[in-house]
Assembly symmetry: C2
């Protein structure tokens, strides 16, 4: 892990850009250290395009005493293009435009390779981040592509609690993995999310094996998560990571 | 409204029992007045049997600056027996024991007369309570039988926000009324509630016409609402009634 820039935001949060091998990332740390860490997995639009939303969440988390870190997903942002993923996305868009149901094969081709590549990258990032002075356990995960968060929650024992956003297609294989998740979960569902299958989200929530799991459903579309829902997710982390 | 007893609880909350005509009720007021009011509708088990849960919610609400009041539902507790309601309940139990689906007629016979009788009683209680010194608007409703809360939210403009518990059978007629509800709603659903049809609860949530409505689903059975879910409901009232 190599830091490439550092600046202090006006609320004394330190924002550092880094690269981990070829993967770009951003680390935000609060003034009070050592701080527990929340992994802030971006949506697959790239760190640059989602920077303002991520930084906003990072600064709220810092006010609660948390460090946060985001890394670029494979094929996103400024990372090398991933032709197979682009073809899978084109197939999905084609199916959506045709108005028919989206076949399982299309969902599998889009999501499973992304999960297979992204999860070890998050684990490598965790190795590096937990070695930094100022970062202490426990670790939370808050993220974008719900299948990545599901797999991480199964395979990565250092993650103690997760906030997941229902809002992407979920392969049947991930639904099966969900039964093996046991950490506390806080799942956000935008009830009228135009790009999301509500029933699939409810099925996934039902499948999680966790004894403590909470679903917060709110009105509005994909990016319309209300402020009070963000506050509730922050309270979930405060309850479980402190 | 006639007060029949008064005692001061150890946290300085004043608990007064009253009768409104023949209806028994309890009013809890915090030390700081005038206080906004939350109507605390009990489950149909009677005020005595649910006293400890109601008093616990009342004291938490008082700590947040709210007065709370509960009245006995028709046919419950020490109120006169209501043979038609008892027959309807027996029919429901028979259908549940037979293991088949519960017919619409059984649900209608059980719930609609209860709603028709209870709602005007709550409105009369509201008339009396809002006339007391120490009670000020706005008014919230937090309650047990979700069909009663739904009808009240439609017909009673003095209620500004409601916490509803998904956990009872819902007639089709109430589902239609739900579309006319416009106040902010916070709906609690116990995901594994043995006496509740989860899909019916989700359908009712979907039907509410409110621009702000939130569903909080948690694990556990009917009476297993976790403490943090109660806290979230309290924050909802704090946001809307202050």
């Amino acid at each position: 892990m190599r830091f490439t820039s550092e600046r202090r935001l006006d609320d004394a949060v330190v924002e550092r850009e880094f690269t981990l091998g070829e993967i770009p990332g951003i680390l935000w740390t609060p003034p009070s250290v050592p701080a527990p860490l929340i992994l802030l997995s971006p949506p697959p639009l790239g760190l640059r395009k989602t920077y303002s939303r991520l930084a906003d969440r990072a600064r709220h988390a810092a006010a609660d005493g948390f460090a946060t870190a985001a890394i670029e997903l494979p094929g996103s942002g400024e990372r090398p293009r991933w032709p197979a993923a682009e073809r899978a996305l084109a197939d999905l868009r084609g199916a959506l435009e045709a108005g028919g149901p989206v076949g399982e094969e299309i969902v599998d081709n889009l999501i499973l390779p992304l999960v297979d590549r992204a999860v070890p990258e998050w684990q490598a990032a965790l190795d590096a981040l937990l070695g930094l002075p100022g970062i202490g356990g426990p670790v939370g995960y808050s993220g974008g592509v719900i299948s990545i968060g599901t797999r991480l929650a199964v395979v990565e024992p250092r993650i103690s609690a997760a906030v997941l956003f229902a809002g992407s297609f979920v392969p049947r294989a991930i639904l099966a993995e969900a039964r093996r998740v046991t950490i506390p979960l806080h799942v956000l569902l935008q009830w009228d999310d135009e790009g999301n299958d509500r029933q699939a989200a409810l099925d996934l929530f039902d499948a999680f094996g966790s004894e403590e799991k909470t679903l917060h459903a709110n009105m509005g579309g994909h990016t319309g998560v209300p402020q009070f829902a963000g506050d509730a997710a922050a309270q979930f982390f405060a309850r479980h990571l402190k």
